[in-house]
Point group: C3
Chain length 181, copies 3
């Protein structure tokens, strides 16, 4: 790594992951935000608008549901920090749009390659989805497996990993002093 810091923030739904990502971003000057969610229905539109409001004008927002490695690679040096929110939604987009592992695995590999030598600091937001009962649906099990594997691969490359619980950042990898806001 060229001295860049990558932080992975994971946790359950509404555990404060996105808000904490924004908190960690405060000291940075030039900030970009890669939003992976697609507004497919009103519920999603509302969530996306709420998130945009939270970021106000301090971020350049880049909406990109699939080609995140390309975005980080090509535009990373415009920024001191890029937040990516979130990996699990991105993985869902890959499953939904590209269907077969043959088609989406290369995009995952490309992303992991970028993480090995990122052009700017990165804060990656992900989700813990594997601590409930086993889903009855086979596609859900496959997604859950892929999401868990992706989290492992990203956590291995990240300098710091933070598990959010009830809005509290629990540092599980890296220096715990630096992590508190």
């Amino acid at each position: 790594m060229a001295g860049q810091t990558t932080v992975l923030i994971t946790g359950g739904s509404r555990s404060g992951k996105s808000s904490y990502a924004l908190k960690l971003a405060h000291p940075y000057q030039k900030k970009g935000f890669i939003a992976t969610a697609e507004a497919l229905d009103d519920e999603m539109k509302e969530r996306i608008i709420n998130h945009q409001r939270e970021r106000a004008e301090s971020f350049v927002t880049i909406e990109e549901p699939l080609q995140i490695a390309e975005v980080i690679g090509k535009r990373g040096d415009e920024f001191d920090l890029l937040i990516l929110d979130c990996l699990t939604v991105w993985l869902g987009n890959l499953h939904f749009h590209l269907k077969s592992p043959q088609k989406y695995h290369p995009l995952i590999q490309e992303f992991l390659e970028v993480l090995k030598n990122p052009p700017c600091d990165l804060i990656l937001v992900s989700n813990e989805i594997g601590m409930g009962i086993i889903p009855e649906n086979k596609l859900s099990r496959k997604f859950r497996d892929d999401a868990g594997k992706l989290n492992q691969q990203v956590a291995e490359l990240a300098g710091r990993v933070i598990l959010m619980v009830s809005g509290i950042p629990v540092v599980i990898k890296g220096n715990s002093q630096e992590a508190s806001p």
Copy 2:
């Protein structure tokens, strides 16, 4: 806060939250227990009876499915400690009985106000329900979101927050020395 201590105990189902709450309550003299669960079926009746047996006669039990802020506010000074078990069931009762956010949000605000200046020490039991796959049902997603948000708001006001995992208390906010029984 008037020097009172508020502890939030969260965790998955059967992770030992209620038992640990009772353990932390040992040193107290005058103890009250606010039970939020309603016995709507035999399964719930059995759980409630088992929990009551665990508490024996050392607690005054107050059954209150909805108006917990009022109970804490009005009766708190009768006790050294009030245990509330549990926030997630209470939130479920609010959704079930009052239906619209317009009707139940004021009760949540009222509760958060009481937490800012509680009349006695409090142990609040809650649940982590956001670490499984995304529910297909929209009402479940709404409930999951509201539960996560409530946990964040309560954790922010609590002096100590404990995540139970396999019966082991993991202190994620506050002094970890004090937390072990």
Copy 3:
């Protein structure tokens, strides 16, 4: 305990539990692996074959879906270390094959007895399945309850308990220094 070490590794699906168990097993000479999963369909067959490949030839594999206490008791002194992977699948087998608690509780008790004085070091892999929304299905709730209770009972007897999150071992009981590989 006769100076033996028991480690419980728990966590969500694909959180790196099995891989970390194998990592912890490295220093041992005579190693056995109790596999509880039954290959009921192609998906399971594939998972089992992948796991076997990961272990290569350094382990003696013992496939046992139900009588794990008997296996540990009778064959434990052939080994320096036994890995059991995993408790939740074993509990599922008990529910599936024996149906009534009257029939499977004795097997659980027998297992907990063996843990009090194990014949060799043990690494027990389990699953966190209680942090999602409450299952609608009554049997699923019963299974979730039993799994949580079993985790509590095993964690109490284990010298070390590790929660895996995104492939990172988080020590929640015992010496955290020893746990890192």
